[in-house]
Symmetry: C2
């Protein structure tokens, strides 16, 4: 992937292939896009050079210009409070959008940093209107994705409001698992690119608690963790734990706690 020239003209097949693995995919292709429109889209969506671990895609407070979609790798978003502590607001895997929360204020309320080497596509927001003329339904699709984000947020709220540490971790793992699976990757064996500290921060738990829970799950034979490498042996038990107090409805069908990725275009 030599991602040097951002506006390089690609063949249609090549482009479609790229978009399959890319993530703005959902914003465009499902709508039966014509070939000439695809060329237009290609002009507008920018491929950025890959981000290295620790590099920022944008900083908190920066003016909002574009939406981003993760193409590969993973990105953490976090907000820093005035006393210097950070609140992790999300982890973004391939196929997921970043920046939706900045549209209303036209300023990024959180920073986005690569957890590993990443590639992203960029959609300048001021082009959305223009693009919508050629791709009717684009904006509608955007609304749908935002709706999903809101729904996922509610699920997470329920989780943080009244679930034990064990339930939170179980739900978190199932969520990751589901997101990987939906991307065609293994849902039972994957790499968690985020640190324990980040997980704890995100889930409202102390690092130590996160660590203890991983140990407990391991002792129970539910999974194996070695550093960032996870193998889930008994997803059903994980699900049982996550749902034991009936959180599954709220959390969406699969007990996942965050933005789902399926699209229902009934």
């Amino acid at each position: 992937m030599s991602a040097a020239q951002p506006h390089k003209v690609v063949s249609l097949a090549e482009f479609k292939a790229a978009c399959q693995s890319c993530s703005l995919f959902q914003l465009c292709l499902p709508m039966g896009i014509a070939d000439n429109e695809l060329a237009l889209l290609d002009k507008i969506i920018r491929r950025r050079r890959p981000l290295k671990r620790g590099e920022h895609l944008y900083q908190q407070g920066h003016s909002f210009q574009s939406l981003y979609a993760v193409r590969s790798g993973s990105i953490k978003t976090y907000a820093t409070t005035e006393d210097g502590r950070e609140q992790v607001t999300g982890f973004h895997l391939p196929g997921e959008l970043l920046g939706l929360d900045a549209i209303c204020t036209e300023r990024h309320g959180c920073a986005a940093v690569a957890l590993e080497t990443c590639t992203v596509c960029e959609l300048p927001y001021d082009q959305v209107d223009r693009l919508n003329e050629f791709l009717p339904g684009l904006q509608q699709q955007l609304v749908r994705m935002m709706s999903r984000e809101i729904l996922g947020g509610q699920a997470l709220l329920a989780l943080l409001g009244k679930r034990s540490a064990e339930e939170r971790l179980a739900a978190y793992l199932l969520n990751l698992s589901g997101r990987f699976q939906r991307r065609g990757l293994s849902g039972t064996e994957f790499i968690m690119s985020m640190s324990r500290t980040d997980i704890g921060n995100y889930m409202g738990l102390a690092v130590e608690t996160v660590s203890r829970m991983f140990t407990r799950f391991q002792e129970m034979g539910i999974l194996s963790v070695r550093r960032k490498h996870v193998v889930v042996h008994q997803p059903e038990r994980l699900r049982a734990i996550a749902c034991q107090s009936g959180g599954c409805t709220v959390l969406g069908r699969a007990g996942a706690a965050l933005p789902q990725t399926e699209t229902k275009n009934g």
Copy 2:
């Protein structure tokens, strides 16, 4: 308010006055709407008969048809888990939208019930596209409002993740206060239409804790509560409590924990 004939033709002035106090306001009027368009809008937006306390606007699982805006009164949204317990997902005051989370699944993930006598406006979602042709920017405005909802959700996450009961309640009260104030009502004296149980459920606290915190704030001289009637004597101290661990940045400028209502149309 005889809300009998939904499609009654109203004079422009009358309509504008209605919309000032109504809430789909934000979806239409700020965009410099022409008079003939206004008439169209009036045809599409339905005024429903008032809801009495305890009546449902929609039930969990119902198919999604419309967005609703609260015109007066207040509405609670909640999801019921399979074991029959409920998770409150939000309180909606005049000027706020309901149903945004249902767009993606085309099914309501939570129920909406009136906490007191309410009036609402209804915008059939399948009309949004059509309406967008006449009111360019409508959909864009919708996107902006959803973005705000996402942002607010993140703030709430931060709150539930790592704030003490005292901080949560302080933030909750400030949030309510701000929302009333922004609607031109008093931010220091208002009626909390929701029960202590609902507040606790929403904020991830036991009812008893909520009650104790109100008592504590009262003993500190910060406010007076009598049943649902609240008078805030020292908002600064409330703010100091809500922000003491630096949550203000995340929570939006005023320490409010939920969807803000200001619009930035830079």
